[in-house]
């Protein structure tokens, strides 16, 4: 693009953001902060200004915050046209137009897709409609769940022991409510952190009084005569009576509105390059459509260029900032989204944090603390490199391991660490259910600390 053209875009161009939540808002702020002076439109199907979701399963359930009052603070004024409460229903790439549910059409010079994900509903529609069957993604979901928990149900049943499900179970116990939690795998958090750490999460849950049932699936939800859920049927033929059922089976990407648009969008999200530019269905990168947040799927140089979908708060913020920057820049001024994956969770009074990509790791070393004490640092290795770390109440060590991951430090961890126990001397299998990982690929390491000056150093593959 000519410098002239870019200057005009920055001065009087039209930028449209679809999805007015965390990623959408932070992108809008970044555009203005970087000098975009043209027309900015935010389209969101929720009728609310952008709000934060993580508190919905934590302080909101515990009564420390209202689920309807988690609006995100603004970093600056964005002087945008808000189209809230109206969904985007289609995209015309050639005409550069977004179609809206109310029949309107909005033209753009640059488009950002930030439509996120929604909760995967219970798969039997009729059962999903029973009164008392809940999901947790929006503030309305949270308000509904809070109301039901306050009413003092006889038992809450959580389907799926991932982070969200485990956080709900933890809150229920803190509120003194009986809770059961069912998980197909052998322990909670197995998909995210592997079986070794999962067994610690299992102990935590059971010690706090959660009736944890693993290696089972829920086969049916049973309602009473007036359409309220009353029992949960499990694959081991047991039946558990419960009047609130929280379906916590992961999420679905909000890409339906892009069907037929010609973009590379589907159930796995919208694929984009490291510069956040969306691919079309031919695998050719577009130059005016960008993606950020939970809906995006983008290659990460540090992790063998695998496409990562990260449903992490920090990723939405960082990717939105990079996408916004790249939307109004050109060529060498553009930046790759090289954010180090990181998330936190909190359950049963324990602070869980992670950096890197734990599911890539085949092996795990407990380099600090001990599993039995529920205070430890676990380091994951893949093909002789450190690729991730997790801490339970040991967050202060995380940054150190983040640097190790960025440098492609060797695994097993060679250096001695403070508070290393005998159990942490040898790596053990991390215990992920399906370690389907590529075995070849160039190795890339990062150097530098500021996201603005990270430089890639390539090493040819050693395999």
């Amino acid at each position: 693009m000519s410098a002239d053209h870019l200057e005009r875009l920055r001065r009087e161009g039209r930028i449209v953001i679809v999805g007015a939540s965390l990623a959408g808002l932070r992108a809008a702020e970044t555009l203005r902060a970087e000098g975009f002076a043209g027309d900015l439109t935010l389209i969101g199907d929720e009728p609310h200004e952008p709000y934060d979701r993580p508190p919905l399963s934590k302080s909101a359930l515990l009564g420390m915050a209202s689920p309807l009052r988690t609006q995100l603070p603004r970093r600056r004024e964005i002087d945008a046209k808000w189209r809230l409460g109206v969904a985007a229903t289609g995209l015309d790439l050639a005409a550069k137009r977004v179609r809206l549910a109310d029949g309107d059409e909005v033209e753009y010079d640059r488009l950002l897709i930030a439509t996120g994900v929604r909760a995967r509903p219970w798969f039997k529609e009729e059962e999903a409609r029973l009164d008392g069957v809940c999901v947790l993604r929006t503030r309305e979901d949270a308000a509904d769940l809070v109301r039901r928990l306050r009413a003092g149900p006889r038992r809450v049943f959580v389907i799926g022991a991932g982070f969200a499900g485990s956080e709900v179970a933890s809150a229920c116990r803190e509120l003194g409510l009986p809770v059961s939690m069912a998980e197909r795998a052998g322990a909670p958090l197995v998909g995210a952190l592997g079986g070794v750490i999962g067994s610690v999460a299992a102990d935590l849950a059971t010690e706090h009084g959660v009736d944890l049932r693993t290696h089972v699936t829920v086969t049916a939800l049973e309602g009473d005569t007036v359409g309220r859920v009353r029992a949960v049927h499990l694959s081991d033929e047991s039946v558990v009576e419960a009047d609130v059922v929280v379906v916590s089976l992961g999420s679905l990407r909000n890409t339906e509105w892009l069907t037929g648009s010609g973009l590379g969008a589907g159930p796995r999200g919208v694929a984009c390059d490291a510069g956040c530019r969306a691919f079309d269905f031919r695998g050719i990168v577009t130059d005016d459509v960008f993606v950020a947040g939970d809906v995006a799927r983008s290659p990460h140089a540090l992790f063998g260029y695998q496409f990562l979908s990260l449903e992490h708060w920090g990723n939405a913020v960082a990717q939105a900032e990079t996408a916004a920057h790249n939307m109004i820049c050109d060529g060498a001024d553009r930046r790759p989204h090289l954010w180090m994956p990181a998330f936190w969770s909190s359950m049963f009074g324990v602070n869980i944090k992670s950096v890197g990509v734990p599911p890539m790791g085949e092996h795990l070393m407990i380099t600090q603390g001990s599993l039995a004490e529920r205070r430890f640092t676990g380091v994951y290795g893949h093909q002789g490199r450190v690729v991730a770390a997790v801490t339970f109440d040991n967050a202060r060590w995380l940054e150190f391991y983040q640097r190790q991951i960025e440098r492609g430090a060797p695994f097993p961890v060679e250096f001695p660490t403070l508070d290393r126990r005998p159990e942490g001397r040898q790596p053990v299998p991390a215990g992920f259910p399906d370690p389907s990982l590529p075995t070849h690929g160039p190795m890339v390491t990062l150097s530098g600390y500021s996201p603005a000056d990270q430089q890639l150093v390539f090493h040819p593959s050693r395999h």
Partner: protein
């Protein structure tokens, strides 16, 4: 006044919980819970917590009067 804590950054140092205990609370040894939409009378305490956080993990708006009116005007 709206606030959010970047809990990836937060190190659980608890300065905020000390300075604005009705807004921030430690939960267990190092988890932080907070109210994202504190009452107006917490404004000064929140401002002090924002300034005191050693890793700048807290983002808040509406900390001054002008901010408060801006907040009111863009809720629609």
């Amino acid at each position: 006044m709206r606030l959010v804590v970047d809990l990836n950054k937060c190190q659980g140092y608890a300065q905020c919980a000390f300075l604005a205990p009705d807004v921030f609370a430690m939960h267990g040894e190092e988890s932080l819970l907070y109210d994202p939409r504190p009452e107006d009378e917490q404004r000064e305490r929140v401002a002090r917590a924002v300034a005191a956080c050693p890793v700048q993990a807290i983002t808040a708006d509406g900390l001054d009067r002008a901010g408060a009116s801006q907040e009111a005007s863009d809720v629609r």
